[in-house]
């Protein structure tokens, strides 16, 4: 296991290094930068600032500097926000995590329950309905459903606020603060859950359908166990096992925010920060964010693999 881990981790690092070079070059190619886009500055001042931030140096040298700093835990300094990138991440990432963790929890909960029931009642009208809803959820254009719900529920019906995390000018504290945040996060959480729940329900449903056909389920029934026990003790455990690999894949979504949803709902998360910075061409922040996602993706994949090895008694030995 440790030899395997060493090999995996070193490969991970190589991929990340290659990815960082590629991403850096791509952002370097991207037209415009924060200084040139700023109309308030005089041409002389612009040249001066470019010199200071090292924008005139050749690409590879700039990458080298970035990399060296990154190894020292310094991911650069945001020009637009005038703060270190990591400090900014720390400010915004937890807002993203709040949205993502609640919606991920709801997504898994709903997906497991509905997936199990519809697999158990395969071909029933309930199952057909679930299948249609699954496809509907999988086919939603994320930005559109966000806009649509804002229009209907926030603008027309005025049930919930249309965006943000707090009402503008609010200085609520304590319980009132919590209530206000919950009101604001309801719509984005609903949309994110909707977007994720389709494919996951389908995954559980088809896993469970496979498991129910297995010989050991027949054995469990022949033993005289209750159907609920057969389903939740014998079948669900086996169906959940491959799903453990998915936990790792959720990692980028949990901490990386959602570009589209946070933008649409004006949620002060890291995805929204990225979208703002992209318009401003705030490269240190863009680079930092993209690398953050890449790192989370790679670590997530590793976690998935390791979890799978730990969870399955058949693989555990080898």
């Amino acid at each position: 296991m440790s030899a395997y881990l060493t090999k995996r981790i070193s490969y991970m690092l190589i991929i990340l290094l290659a990815a960082s070079l590629l991403i850096f070059s791509l952002y370097a190619l991207t037209p415009g930068d924060y200084i040139s886009n700023n109309i308030k500055l005089s041409p002389e001042r612009k040249a001066e600032l470019r010199e200071i931030y090292g924008f005139n140096k050749p690409l590879m040298e700039r990458y080298g500097i970035w990399m060296k700093n990154a190894f020292h835990g310094d991911f650069g300094y945001s020009l637009a926000q005038q703060k270190p990138v990591l400090t900014l991440f720390n400010e915004y990432i937890w807002n993203s995590f709040l949205l993502a963790s609640v919606s991920t929890f709801l997504t898994w909960l709903i997906a497991v329950i509905i997936g199990v029931v519809s697999a158990y009642k395969q071909y029933s009208w309930f199952d057909t309905l679930v299948m249609v809803l699954i496809f509907a959820a999988m086919s939603l254009p994320s930005f559109f459903i966000g806009l649509f719900l804002i229009k209907v529920i926030a603008v027309d019906l005025k049930w919930l606020p249309p965006g943000g995390m707090l009402t503008t000018g609010s200085n609520a504290t304590g319980w009132a603060y919590v209530k206000e945040v919950i009101r604001h996060m309801t719509l984005p959480v609903v949309v994110m859950t909707l977007l994720g729940v389709g494919s996951l329900t389908r995954y559980f449903r088809s896993n469970l359908i496979d498991v129910i056909k297995q010989d050991y389920i027949r054995t469990a029934r022949a033993k005289g166990l209750k159907e609920s026990k057969v389903l939740f003790r014998h079948a669900l455990r086996n169906a959940l096992l491959p799903a453990i690999t998915l936990v790792g894949f959720e990692l980028p979504a949990l901490f990386g925010g959602s570009l589209i949803i946070e933008k649409i709902f004006n949620w002060p998360g890291i995805g929204q920060l990225y979208m703002q910075s992209f318009g401003l061409r705030d490269y240190p922040l863009l680079m930092g964010f993209t690398m953050l996602i890449a790192i989370l993706t790679v670590i997530g994949t590793l976690i998935s693999d390791v979890l799978y090895h730990i969870a399955d008694p058949r693989v555990r030995l080898h």
Partner: protein, 327 residues
């Protein structure tokens, strides 16, 4: 001996894409107390489906018991509610299957799987059930029972797993044990051990066994009474010695002829010509007619009924009907 279980006119059909398949078609049989009945036939002849019908384990959707009664312990199993049937499964009637490797849940420990029926049927506590599980593992001839109880199925060999299945099956001292090809997936040497073990438990507890197999060697070794099935119907039944000595139905004759005999080298092994008919294309005829050496006109147009040919032996074949008519 009293009848332990009596199946009357059981019919189990499957809806498939091609149409309706009569997997079990008007089958009647009985197993008496302490008796071993073997059901013989090729794969797909309906022998497993018959067994599954008894425990209400026919795969739904698609499979459905359309007719018949199964009398057991003064009740008709087909009329019982799901809950009532559940208290019989694994308790009064238990079952072991063909593939020990896939019949145990890969993510649950052996011990947990043995304990489940003990807790459900015997109402034992977890601790008592575990003690009993260890005893049972020892009883089926596995040493290191205390270790095995905490291992997972993939850590055991096929033969050991089948012993575990037997341990689960006998844990509640059932009156009837249904064994569906229990040795087919195992090595020959292990096969003999497993069969010995079944026989031993049967003698100890006077339980009855319904043994489903396609292996005539197993039949010869185990059976008191033999039922031969073909395309969902019983074509012949009788006491084992009589049936082996003088098989009546041409199909049974073919089966016995195709069994190689030790010390008797034949130039060519006999095999029944032709193939099992497509279950979707069965017409009103003897289903065996196009493979039968004695096929007559009536065989192609009318189905023979299962009738007594000699005392203790029945066959469904026009040869004997004619004989009766002419006599």
């Amino acid at each position: 001996m009293n009848d332990l279980i009596r199946i009357d006119h059981l019919s189990t059909y499957f809806d498939t894409e091609g149409g309706k398949v009569k997997a079990v078609d008007d089958v009647s049989l009985r197993v008496r107390e302490g008796e071993t009945v073997c059901i013989v036939g090729e794969s797909g002849c309906g022998k497993s489906v018959t067994a599954m019908s008894i425990l209400g384990l026919v795969e739904e959707p698609g499979g459905k018991i359309v007719n018949g009664q199964i009398h057991f312990d003064g009740k008709d199993l087909l009329q019982l509610s799901k809950n009532e049937l559940r208290t019989i499964r694994g308790n009064d009637i238990s079952m072991i299957f063909q593939e020990p490797m896939s019949s145990l849940n890969p993510v649950l420990k052996i011990g947990e799987q043995i304990m489940e029926p003990l807790i459900v049927h015997q109402k034992l506590s977890k601790k008592e059930a575990r003690e009993r599980a260890i005893q049972l593992i020892e009883q089926v001839g596995i040493s290191r029972a205390k270790q095995i109880v905490d291992s997972y199925p993939h850590e055991l060999s096929g033969g050991m797993l089948q012993r575990i299945m037997i341990a689960i099956a006998i844990s509640s001292s059932p009156k009837l044990l249904i064994a569906d090809e229990p040795t087919t997936a195992l090595d020959v040497t292990i096969q003999a051990q497993i069969l010995d073990m079944l026989r031993q438990f049967k003698e100890q507890s006077n339980m009855s066994i319904m043994l489903i197999t396609h292996d005539l060697g197993v039949v010869a070794e185990m059976a008191d009474y033999v039922i031969v099935m073909y395309a969902g119907k019983i074509v012949e039944e009788g006491e084992v010695v009589k049936l082996f000595q003088s098989p009546k139905h041409p199909y049974t004759q073919g089966l016995l002829k195709s069994k190689p005999i030790i010390n008797q080298r034949q130039d060519e092994l006999y095999s029944i010509p032709g193939q099992v008919p497509n279950p979707l294309e069965l017409t009103d005829s003897c289903y065996f007619h196009d493979r039968c050496e004695h096929c007559m006109d009536i065989c192609r147009t009318k189905q023979p009924a299962l009738k007594e040919v000699t005392g203790q032996q029945k066959a469904a074949c026009w040869l004997y009907e004619e004989a009766l008519v002419h006599a």
